[in-house]
Amino acid sequence: MDYQDNLPLSEAVFFILLSLAPGPKHGYAIMKDVEALSDARVSLSTGTLYGALKRLLDGGWVQRVDEGQDGSGRERKSYALTQLGKGILEAETARMQNLVVTAQKRSSEGGLI
């Protein structure tokens, strides 16, 4: 699988994948984590989050994990990265690192305005 075909990621998708990197999370936890990770720059609405999750599920980047029922008797679902999702997140991180390294190199040469 060539992860590069899926890059670059949108900021929202990148932060959702990053949020799931340590382990499975449910919807609200992802929302809070994305906000924290992005210093409140990316604030997902419920509709946007689940729209993105649907496409990540369809693409096989994340998978659903049943957590049993919550306090109000509702089925609680969490989301976890799949191997494909992890690979794509790593590839995107590496891509951005390369960008930063390249920019820093040019900066050290005095080429950046």
Binding site: H26, G27, Y28, M31, S43, S45, T46, G47, T48, L49, Y50, G51, L53, K54, R55, D70, S72, R74, E75, R76, K77
Partner: protein
Amino acid sequence: MNLVIRRLSNFYAFLTVLYPYEFRQDFANEMQAVFQEKLIAASKTGKWALWHDIWKELRGLPVAILTEYWFTFRDTLGRGIMFLITEDKSWRIENRRDALIASLPPVLMGFGIALGALVIWEPWHTIPRWRLMTGFVITLLPGLIIGLGGLWALIKRIPSWSHTWVGGAGMGLVLFVKTIAEERADFGLPLISPVMDIVLLILLLLILATLIGVSAWQGWRHAGMVSLGFATMAGMASFSMAMAAPFNRYDLALLAAPVGLAMASLIFLFVRKGDGGRVIAILVYGAMNTVVFLIVASIWNLPEGSPSPVIPFLVVLTGALLVGPIAGLIGRPVRRVIQGS
């Protein structure tokens, strides 16, 4: 949880119904739970945070919903229009008797018109009244039978054989009402006003659109059968025009019988064969209606410079034939998106 949050959560739950079927099946419950959690957390921070969060959610909702519809449509279209045409490949009216009943309307109309023409045969003012009336009854009786058949089919929730009957009944009603409205002067009645004429036309078109809409929900083949019903009545109307004074071309009206039989064969082909056969049936139906109409139009001898009704009538004939399949092709994916079936 306070009352405001509960009410807002219920309102949000109501709004999630606007999402496409599959999406709301998968996520609506979770979204409601997350929305509620978000409100509870925000309410602890203060009223301003609560309303700010609500505003943010509601502001983003139309775009989120439209985005999901777009993705669902794209996925459906991604499978290709050919998939839509060939899905349910096995569809056909299995029961031979039902297929024959579905094919009956053009036979009834064709033979009714031909027999009526044989009975009348001469200009109406030169024959005894009983002969004229008998001829009229024989000509109009099939239309009445198709009308009642269509009505019965609607009561029975449109069984598989009945779409051509429903279409025939709908178009028959339109032609009947329009003819009566236009012939009022012959019976010494005042003509209807132009406004009333437009209202009547809109009402009749709404009836036809409803019939097409309901059958399109079932798929293009069902809506195609309704269209064949439309085209049968519109095509047969050409023969009635040939019989009308001052043309009195009863010889041309005799052609209605073989044309009706040919139309019935095409409907039989449509309901029993594959999609290739159906496309051929529609094309031949259209060609046949066009030829019949052009033959009848050739006897009109319109005065030089007067506007010809040929092109508008051909547009109506073709439109009647194509509106069903096209609406069906659109209706099926729309149904899948909304209902998931």
